[in-house]
């Protein structure tokens, strides 16, 4: 009698464990900078990714009527074009730290959630003169 319920309980536990393990693998969202993505694009194919970086100078195109937003995210080494639908947040501008959530379609990143990483003490870097490490540090410190 006892053994029967124990077996039933173990089966349920195994099912939950299986779901948990599979679920974790599928719903992990990777956080990468453009150069980290460029190192191994295959790893992130078809997965949800949070892409961090700076908005490249002069790359922003926004159409307020159709709400199509196009810009380029860069970390000083690699540039990635981003397509997003929706209004850019207030502080969205050139050289602003951003994190875009979405997925890669070919070489284009399709974003569905756009977050500004704004640091009150941060000075905009001079054109192009920053390294991925500086970008990483900036995004970490910003709110």
């Amino acid at each position: 009698m006892r053994a029967k319920y124990l077996i039933g309980f173990l089966i349920i536990l195994a099912a939950i464990g299986y779901l948990a393990w599979g679920g974790l693998g599928k719903s992990l969202v990777y956080y990468v900078l453009p150069s980290e993505y460029a190192d191994n694009p295959a790893k992130y194919a078809g997965k949800r990714v949070r892409l961090g970086g700076l908005v490249k100078q002069g790359s922003v195109h926004f159409n307020p009527k159709t709400l199509e937003l196009k810009f380029v995210v860069t970390d000083g080494v690699v540039d990635i074009p981003v397509e997003h639908t929706g209004t850019p947040p207030e502080l969205f501008k050139d050289n602003q730290g951003v994190v875009v959530e979405g997925h890669f379609e070919g070489n284009v990143f399709k974003g569905d959630n756009l977050l500004i990483k704004h640091s009150e003490s941060y000075q905009a870097p001079r054109k192009g003169e920053y390294t991925p490490d500086e970008v990483r540090k900036l995004l970490k410190e910003a709110k």
Binding site: L19, L28, V29, Y30, Y31, P64, G86
Partner: protein, 652 residues
């Protein structure tokens, strides 16, 4: 300057009297002299008053804009309205731990008032003194809010604008701490029970503390969800954010403990489970604080790191070590006598508790997994909502099944008579699901509808069945019989009411998660937007100036629902604007409008986001039902015999 001195002196008094109380409790244990317990109780009152004075001193500093006090200088600003200044006390780390210490000392004093015997009391009181000392010493020495600045600034930056955006944020932390702290009393009694090897009565003695703590935790989680919905502007109330998880884990464990404690009270079983669950539930409150206050995760609550992370982690480990160390020592003695039939009320209660514990571990796993991954291979990951949903959907249905079945089954073993109602419940489940599928709802929503009917039949039978049978036997009016039974055993009906609230919540969550419309559009002023069968027109865009913020407000008319006012708030302290959504509730759907952007030159167009979600209003109604049910349970029984604790406990 003066408030800081008053605050420091008060904290020193509170710490010294907590130490005195601890010593008195130790003396009471070794001498078996009840006078020492009296002394410890008085010390508890004095240290509560000392902490209250420190709290008052910090409020004084905040309200009088005393920027020489470090906490005021870093978290407050002159222009804020008075209520925001008052609530700023718990808007950052130092103040919120002071508030926690205040509630802890209050609960120690209140719990001490009921303690009489010299077996359990010294250990329980001593444990509570140790816990409150932890918080008080931290506030005094590690994160002192009263440090005086030699060169006070003329103004401060103010609290995080997100926290000023809605009055709910003034209430939510208070509810949360009252819940967290409430769990310390059952924990202290459990430690005392294991220490003194008196394993049975602690559950009954701390039952009310547990229910009160559970009620506050529930209210706090709802308040947080409501705030998230009304303030954050993403149109959702729950995002599996680590902060939300931190409050959800203790709630899940406390709910599990609440149910197994009932079995120990009635049948003397599950003693080991109860010791383990109360330890885990209390540890989870400290774990949540560690998670949110140490800066290991990013959130509104993650105040600048500081040294509290390791300190809270050590405290967490001490709690677990003491709880499980004692349990290991006495485990052979607390083993249950008598077997549990799986198909009985206690069997299903245990199963339900296991499901709740599993849920808690799923949340812990999902919350900590990113830290593990980063520790192992350096990759930065986050665990998305799909992971939690995938596990919580099946576990949730299991819980709904057990929730309906458990109360219907009698204690000890299933009886043939109950089979009839179970058959009716099964029919309701099948009919409800089929109905949902015919209407065209998704499988999961239909299944929820089925389980809701399943539970309603069970609750209906439990609530009205006895009254109907009795009325048939006595010939009295069924309604009258029902009300007299309701008044007589309102605690039982309180439990049913809470379950009813959970069912309503399940329905609301299922529909609102499955059917949601989220659209954006840029509109010229006066232009008509026809969407979801309504016309939306922006009549005007205007600027509202307040001393501490400027706001851009759009007057948006939604046909048939009146004018809504979504706004963007610009706080002095921040360059980022904060959107304040406007929510129009109707019985079946919510119309949630966010002002996304506007024409900054001429004010001729605005971009609106519209989120239409079904049944969210019912989620808030379910909160009301659950809290009403909790109050019914806590309501004192009519006309207890004066001064007789025993007869009251026995009547329950």
């Amino acid at each position: 300057m003066i408030p800081a001195a008053v605050g420091d002196v008060s904290l020193v008094v509170a710490v010294l009297f907590s130490l005195l109380g601890l010593l008195a409790a130790v003396a009471a244990w070794y001498s078996r002299d009840a006078r020492y317990i009296q002394m410890a109780k008085r010390a508890a009152l004095v240290s509560f008053l000392g902490t209250l004075a420190a709290f008052a001193a910090l409020e004084w500093a905040l309200l009088s804009d005393d920027f020489s006090v470090i906490y005021v200088a870093s978290n407050s600003t002159r222009a804020n309205p008075t209520w925001v200044k008052f609530a700023t006390l718990w808007a950052a780390l130092e103040g919120s731990i002071l508030l926690w210490a205040l509630f802890q000392t209050l609960y120690t004093w209140l719990a001490g008032r009921r303690m009489r015997d010299y077996w359990i009391s010294p250990v329980a009181l001593g444990t509570l003194f140790v816990i409150q000392l932890f918080f008080l010493v931290n506030v005094l020495f590690v994160i002192n809010p009263f440090i005086v600045l030699p060169h006070p600034p003329s103004d401060g930056p103010g609290p995080n604008p997100l926290l000023q955006n809605h009055w709910m944020m003034a209430v939510h932390p208070i509810l949360m701490y009252l819940g967290f702290v409430g769990l310390s009393v059952p924990f202290a009694y459990a430690i005392a029970a294991m220490w003194t090897r008196r394993y049975q009565t602690w559950v009954t003695e701390t039952k009310w503390w547990l229910i009160i703590a559970w009620g506050f935790l529930t209210a706090a989680i709802y308040a947080g969800g409501w705030w998230s919905y009304e303030v954050l502007g993403w149109g959702g109330y729950w995002g599996w954010d680590p902060v939300e998880n931190a409050s959800f884990i203790p709630w899940l464990l406390a709910t599990a403990f609440l149910h197994t404690a009932m079995v120990q009270e009635r049948r003397g079983l599950f003693r080991t489970w109860n010791f383990a669950l109360v330890t885990l539930a209390f540890a989870a409150t400290v774990f949540g604080t560690f998670l949110t206050r140490s800066g290991v995760i990013e959130s509104v609550h993650a105040f600048a790191g500081g040294p509290v992370g390791p300190i809270f982690l050590s405290f967490l480990l001490v709690i677990l070590a003491v709880g499980f160390g004692l349990l290991g020592r006495v485990s052979s003695e607390v083993r249950d006598v008598g077997a549990v039939q799986p198909l009985s009320r206690e069997g299903l209660l245990l199963f339900g508790a296991l499901v709740l514990v599993t849920m808690a571990f799923v949340v812990i796993l999902g919350t900590l997994f990113p830290l593990l991954v980063e520790a192992f291979n350096g990759a930065k990951v986050s665990v998305g909502a799909p992971f939690f949903n995938q596990l919580f959907v099946p576990l949730g249905y299991l819980l709904l099944l057990l929730m309906g079945l458990g109360p219907v089954l009698p204690w000890r073993r299933a009886e043939p008579e109950t089979l009839r109602v179970v058959v009716w419940m099964a029919i309701a489940l099948v009919l409800g699901t089929a109905l949902g599928l015919v209407v065209g709802w998704t499988l999961w929503v239909s299944l929820t509808v089925g389980f809701v009917l399943f539970n309603l039949v069970a609750l209906g039978w439990l609530s009205f069945g006895p009254a109907l049978r009795r009325a048939r036997a006595t010939g009295a009016s069924p309604l009258k019989t029902f009300f007299s039974q309701f008044a007589h055993s309102h605690r039982r009906f309180g439990g049913y009411t809470v379950h009813l609230g959970v069912i309503v919540a399940a329905l609301a969550i299922s529909f609102s998660q499955s059917y949601r419309l989220d659209v954006q559009k840029t509109l010229d002023i006066g232009q008509k937007w026809n969407v979801v069968g309504r016309d939306i027109v922006v009549h005007k865009l205007r600027l509202v100036r307040e001393p501490y913020r400027d706001s851009v407000v759009a007057d948006v008319e939604v046909s048939g629902l009146g004018v809504a006012h979504p706004r963007l708030n610009y706080y002095r302290s921040s360059q980022t604007p904060f959107a304040s959504p406007a929510v129009t509730y109707t019985w079946l759907k919510d119309y949630y409008l966010v002002l996304q952007a506007f024409d900054q030159e001429k004010g001729s167009w605005v971009t609106l986001r519209l989120v239409v979600t079904p049944l969210v209003l019912w989620l808030w109604i379910s909160a009301g039902i659950i809290i009403f049910g909790t109050l019914l349970i806590l309501w004192p029984t009519a006309a207890p015999v004066a001064g007789s604790e025993v007869s009251r406990e026995a009547a329950i």
